[in-house]
């Protein structure tokens, strides 16, 4: 019985996930302690319960069926993304929300289709790559693969939600790498990103980023024509990003400009990062104790329960608590790569990497921005941040990992 469990039940993923969810519930309770804690905490508990159900459904869902329905699921999600663009509620500047009561924030109960779009897109992409006829050295196939990711990404960008859109890029790169994409293909994907990022920092940085992208492409030793095409694409992306940046809502421009010069405005956009760093740093080795963090309890970090939730373990549980969080995430990521490696099914293997990539990007960017290492692009910390859709989607993804682990020997 125990051996059977060990063979077919991914206890490791489940335990890590539950550990993080519990830490998350504690953190949300603390972060919302005086601003409607009871309501927010209860809702998050309900979401965690729903997430657990979703996790088990995903864990025991027949793998073949899952692979088969991944495209219909993907199409359904695209539809939802379109609908939310038309009828969705605006929450802090973005139309990304289906309201079911209240209007966003702590008091409402709603869903964000973009969270589920991530899962559906990973599954669709993996399913596509798993087809025997598909090879990434074929430019048409590659374009199709990228297209699968670009479509939901554009819809999410249109909400506009920069953070979530960027996640799609972060997911597609490891998956393609895993699926065997050549260095040139990867460079051709990375180069426009580098150029796009460079475009936000003014002309000089933009030129340098173009130079770096060009060099990167050149070093892959692909034929000159292909390099030229890729570079042309890079240039086009960079220029259009520059154009889009100027039309961006001010708050997102500010988030980006704050990253360029974080110390500039302590009460402005850099305020969150400053207060977040103070919160984490003041935690010290053992922390100030649960519900004792002055930064957290006295609301020095705006919207802490979402994007800056990492401050809670950082301040109240100190280095011990924060290391535990980072350690659990690292364990989950390693496990994800491991499952991908063990999996004999291409779909499962690629999807494992996709899921791991999504988690990894969220963790790196969220914790990185909380500690002032990376720009504040507003993406939540999986399992810890307040938010139902994300919690359910993330737990579903753990369920998928468990599924892939259990079926790792299946072709």
């Amino acid at each position: 019985m125990f051996d059977y469990l060990k063979e077919y039940f991914d206890a490791k993923a489940l335990l890590i996930c539950l550990g993080l969810v519990i830490l998350g519930l504690f953190s949300v309770y603390s972060a919302t302690f005086d601003v409607g804690a009871a309501a927010a905490f209860k809702k998050q508990v309900v979401w965690a319960a729903i997430g657990l159900v979703a996790l088990f459904i995903m864990a025991f869902f027949p793998l073949k069926t899952l692979q088969r329905i991944s495209f219909p699921l993907y199409i359904l999600n695209l539809g939802l993304l379109l609908v939310v663009l038309v009828v969705g509620e605006r929450v802090s500047g973005s139309k990304s929300w289906f309201g079911l009561g209240g209007s966003g924030g702590l008091a409402s109960f709603g869903g964000q289709p973009s969270e589920f779009a991530k899962v559906a897109t990973v599954l669709a992409l993996s399913s596509f790559l798993a087809r025997t006829s598909i090879t990434l050295s074929n430019a048409k196939h590659l374009m199709l693969a990228i297209g699968i990711v670009i479509v939901p990404m554009v819809l999410i960008l249109a909400q506009p939600d920069l953070g979530t859109a960027v996640v799609f890029f972060a997911m597609v790169l490891p998956v393609l790498y895993w699926a065997g994409a050549s260095n040139f293909v990867l460079a051709a994907i990375v180069a426009p990103i580098v150029a796009a990022a460079g475009a936000l920092f003014g002309t000089l940085v933009f030129l340098v980023s173009l130079l770096v992208s060009g060099t990167l492409l050149y070093l892959t030793r692909q034929n000159r024509f292909a390099v030229a095409v890729a570079f042309g694409l890079t240039l086009a992306v960079g220029l259009s990003v520059q154009a889009v940046y100027e039309r961006m809502p001010a708050y997102q421009q500010k988030r980006i400009s704050t990253f360029i010069n974080p110390g500039s405005e302590q009460k402005g956009a850099g305020y969150n990062v400053y207060q977040s760093k103070v919160a984490i740093g003041s935690g010290g080795f053992f922390g100030k104790g649960y519900l004792q963090g002055t930064q957290t309890q006295l609301n020095f970090i705006p919207e802490q329960w979402t994007d800056f939730i990492f401050c809670v373990p950082g301040e109240e549980f100190g280095f011990v608590g924060a290391s535990l969080v980072i350690g659990l995430f690292t364990g989950l990521l390693l496990h994800g790569v491991n499952v991908a490696g063990l999996s004999k099914n291409k779909f499962a293997s690629a999807a494992s990497i996709g899921i791991t990539g999504i988690f990894g990007f969220h963790v790196l960017v969220n914790i990185g921005m909380s500690m002032g290492l990376l720009p504040v692009i507003g993406i939540p910390l999986p399992f810890l941040s307040y938010g139902g859709s994300a919690l359910v989607a993330n737990m579903s993804m753990v369920g998928l990992l468990m599924n892939f682990y259990a079926n790792r020997k299946e072709h």
Binding site: T135, A179, G281, Q295, I326, I353, G368
Partner: protein
Amino acid sequence: MIHDEHFGSPERRRTLIIVVFVMFAVLMLRLYQLQLLYHVELDKKSEENSVRALVKDPVRGYLYDRYGKLFVDVGPSYSVTLVPAEFEKRNIALLSSILQMEPQMLEERVARARAYSPFLPARIKRDVDMRTLAAIEENFTTFRGVSFQVESKRVYPTKAHASHLLGYRREIADAQLSETDEYYRPGDLVGVAGLEARYEPLLRGTKGFEYVSVNSKGQIIGSFEDGKRNVSAKEGSDLLLSIDVGLQALAESLMTTYSGAIVAMDPNGGGLLALVSKPDYDPSIMSGVTPADLWSELQSNPAKPLYNRATLTRYPPGSTFKMVLAAAALQEGIIDENYRINCTGGFRFGNRVFKDLHVHGSVNVVEAIQKSCNVFFYQLMLKVGFDTWTEYGRRFGFGQTSNTDTGEETTGLLPSTEYYDSRYGKGKWTQGFLISLAIGQGEVGVSPLQMVRYAAALANGGTVYRPHAVELVRNKETKKIEPIPRDSSLVGLSPHVMELIREGMLRVVQSPGGTGALARIPGILSAGKTGTAENPHGKDHAWYVGFAPFDNPKIAVAVMLENSGFGGAKAAPLAGMIMEKYLYGELIRNKPKPAPAQKTVARTMTPATH
């Protein structure tokens, strides 16, 4: 069925694992840096964020007079406060009319308070009256966020104003704020004149602090660490003065129709008994907040009520200065009591004639003081010489500040060879300049404070004390009473010289027809000297200096009345009443039984002088 040889290859798996580890390492290193390396600094920042110190104002020290009577008290003052976040803008007009201030000014103050913290009550107007408070109470429901707080202000329970002596406090000026230590905050009251200024560090006490936790909006959440770090305010020290409040009040009442000063001093130690400058003002108008119009009225009033005539005026002393020259001549052995000159009612020097009021005939030094014979002193000045005269003037404390504790004072002007050399040029001034100085006219300038010190020195046999109003300081924290060190210097006069000069001063008052006869005190011998300062700009200033009782002086007094004419007529009677009040505790002259003192007078006076 993996076709692609690269799909999920071990190298790619290894690469991804490395990527995960690098990510882990980066996050952990940053975590280590923030939580362990920068912990102390960030912890301090976090504390600064969430802890505010609320200032608890200390109770200012009280002032008591020489008999322990409460002179300056502390009472409640009500300040209207406002929490900017709660206050509704539409109430600006109503509130400003109740507070009697310009709506723009109120708006400005609310804006400034909001900038500091929208959630902390800020003082909008200090020291409002009960009617204003009542009006605010009436509109309590309308004025959300408006409240009042009780603070302390000066209360003056006695009849005496003593405005120039006590001084006042004002809100600290920005310039002063930047140059003083960290103690003061904008809006703090600080002593700017008189004793309030001089003893500010002792009187103010030490502020206390109550530490409270605030949230990111500045709202107070509760006490910080259960108040363990709170510091209670330390009360200011009390000042025990040498001033006699009753005497001060009488002196002020005697001066109501005059412009000038009265200073009375204990000749045995230099403690001031009264210090009056008129016109003055009621100090209670400065105890809380002085309305701007009242303040500018005080400043622009042509009678200059803010000007301390007791310590800042610089008038010629007139004949009251003659004792300086007499002391110099006697002590230096230039003359003795037998030296006589014949007064013909005038003195020719060069081609100028210096007149005297009377023809005094043959006079010695005692008689010259008694009769205030100008001719005697004209001639004496030429015998003594300018430098010796200046030297004795300096020994009596003229031409220099007295280092008093009562506030600003003038050095006065004691002419000297160096002074004339620099003023007119070497050799460009003549001995003729000195003739006026001999009788206290011309360029010599003295303050009433310097004159009382001089009178006290003549009373006590030649000791010049630092005039001071504060004798003792009572520290309420340590419960210790500490004396203020008193300085003194000696003029250096022999008892015999002192005796002659004092004899002259006694006769001024007590001999029949003496110029200072109006300074007599029933039953007590008093001595003194009248003076009239020539005033080129108007009526002469009247002077009187004196002391009593003659044998054992307990009080010295200087009276200066601007534009009042002869010292003997105007200043002397005031001095007499001051001394009488101090020595008897009340004015007895109008009472039925004035004790005849002629017997004692006869014993002391030398028969030859009649």
